[in-house]
């Protein structure tokens, strides 16, 4: 299972959450690989308190090693490995979707159960594709206008990209491109307007678009909440997404603002190991156990599917 963590803006806590949720999952007996794909500042190793790794994904892409396994870095935590350098691929302007799919398949073929990919705050097409290709995309947002604005921008881009990939007619694709531009000549103001316009052109594509919307279920983690009102913002975001996009955003949980987080980052010791009883660590643990549950559910469904094969 591949989870991607993205959206928001720099400093919203994506790397902190990736690292600490990953550790919690590995404590629950799930084999985890953390994948650092942050373009701007790949430093999951720092969060884990290990030195910048000597091998990276580049070695695999450039065929210096034959299997992805060989570039995995062990950590002090049992069941937890690190893979860095995914940013090289996402950054490459010529990263073809074939290449991206190949990477996804290689990740899936690893012996670990779950991969957590830190996408950083990027908004590039490669990042969006990775977000959409994963089993679950997670947005990390802080209750501040800037963070929320960036997250909606990310979500909009991902949303329209997903729709665009699903339709076949080129005129509908062009329509979707138009819809992304707020000042488009078609007068499409929002997703509802887009659906109407698509319906007028192509009924088949309209059905596909609606199906894509119904099955697009990103997740939300609210970080650095300071009050009950902040926690409620998560529910409000969920409702706003339902009204605007028609999508069901899943509010996975929140992490309280906690000085212990800053201390742990400074000491380069993961919070959930250093101070598992802190309030923020407990929030992280709760999120991890939700992911573990859906992991268990997914493996059960998969097993069932294989039986049917």
């Amino acid at each position: 299972m591949i989870w991607t963590i993205g959206g928001g803006k720099g400093g919203s806590g994506k790397s902190f959450i990736t690292t600490n949720v990953g550790i919690c999952l590995s404590k629950l007996g799930i084999r985890v690989v953390l994948i650092d794909a942050d373009l701007g500042g790949a430093n999951l190793h720092t969060f884990l308190g290990i030195y910048p790794p000597a091998v990276s994904l580049s070695d695999f892409i450039k065929k210096r090693v034959s299997h992805l396994n060989e570039v995995l870095i062990p950590t002090a935590v049992p069941n937890l490995q690190l893979l860095t350098g995914a940013q090289d691929l996402l950054n490459a302007a010529d990263a073809k979707s074939v290449q991206k799919r190949k990477l996804v398949r290689s990740i899936q073929s690893l012996s670990s159960d779950t991969a957590l990919v830190d996408l950083g705050a990027g908004n590039s097409l490669s990042v969006l594709d990775f977000f959409l290709m994963s089993d679950g995309g997670i947005l990390v947002v802080t209750p501040e206008p800037t963070s929320i604005e960036n997250s909606y921008r990310f979500l909009k881009s991902a949303f329209y990209r997903r729709l665009r990939q699903s339709v076949s007619s080129s005129s509908v694709k062009a329509l979707i491109d138009d819809a992304m531009d707020q000042k488009n000549e078609m007068g499409i103001l929002n997703p509802h307007g887009l659906i109407k316009a698509v319906k007028e052109r192509d009924e088949g594509d309209a059905r596909k678009v609606i199906e894509e919307i119904e099955t697009f279920r990103p997740n939300l983690i609210l970080n650095q909440v300071r009050s009950k009102k902040d926690i409620e913002v998560g529910f409000s975001i969920r409702s706003a997404c339902l009204k605007y996009f028609g999508i069901h955003l899943h509010y996975l949980g929140y992490v309280v603002y906690d000085q212990d987080v800053n201390h742990s980052i400074r000491r380069r010791k993961p919070l959930v190991l250093e101070n598992p009883r802190s309030r923020a660590a407990q929030c992280v643990m709760e999120i991890a156990s939700k992911l573990a549950r859906s992991h268990k559910m997914a493996t059960r469904i998969k097993g069932y599917e294989h039986q049917g094969d």
Partner: protein, 199 residues
């Protein structure tokens, strides 16, 4: 489905409740909706245009007005579901989906706010009630606790409260109506009351 624009949604969809929602649930959904789509709300920042927000606010008001009135809700339901050729109960899958989310909401906040060790004193009960968006009138109607007594319970005006047997009964039904654990609420409340009296 909310893939329809706000104007094409049923009142239930506007409020994000199931068609069999109780007045209490509608009240809560309405207050949440009002908060979410307040002009100053963080959650809508940069997503909706001013016009869209206004449209949603109006839709919320209208949905609330119609659904909170028994008479108008009944005639709305009739026209709505006759037109669609189905009764609200015939939509079990969708209804359940929304309902379950509602439940997660409650357990989620319950988990978050009743951090271990929180004492169910009057002020805490009031806070929980307000958070659920339920007004004292609704509670009073549901539990048959006189509204004045309910206020004294919440404000911890212990000298005005009825004799213990009655008080216990009130606390029990109050706890139930808030979805809290009655024995724990009774124990906490009485203990807190005793402690305060000692001082």
């Amino acid at each position: 489905m909310s893939i329809k624009g706000i104007k094409d949604q049923t009142y239930y969809e506007v409020l994000e409740v199931r068609p069999t929602a109780t007045p209490k649930e509608i009240q809560r959904a309405y207050e949440q909706g009002k908060e979410t789509f307040d002009v100053d709300s963080l959650a809508i920042y940069s997503l909706f245009s001013e016009g869209e927000v206004k449209e949603i606010q109006e839709a919320l008001e209208e949905a609330y007005r119609i659904l909170m009135d028994e008479e108008s809700r009944r005639s709305y339901d009739q026209s709505q579901f006759q037109m669609a050729g189905e009764l609200p109960t015939e939509e079990p899958s969708k209804a359940r989906e929304v309902f379950e989310e509602e439940k997660t909401y409650l357990s989620f906040t319950g988990l978050s706010f009743n951090t271990e060790g929180e004492v169910y004193r009057g002020k805490a009960l009031k806070q929980i009630r307000e958070r659920m968006g339920v007004d004292p009138q609704t509670i009073s109607m549901e539990t048959k606790i006189p509204i004045q007594t309910l206020e004294w319970v919440e404000e911890e005006v212990f000298e005005k409260l009825p004799p213990l047997v009655y008080l216990k009964g009130f606390l029990k039904s109050y706890a139930q109506s808030l979805g809290l654990d009655p024995p724990k609420v009774i124990e906490d409340y009485l203990h807190f009351m005793e402690e305060s009296r000692k001082k």
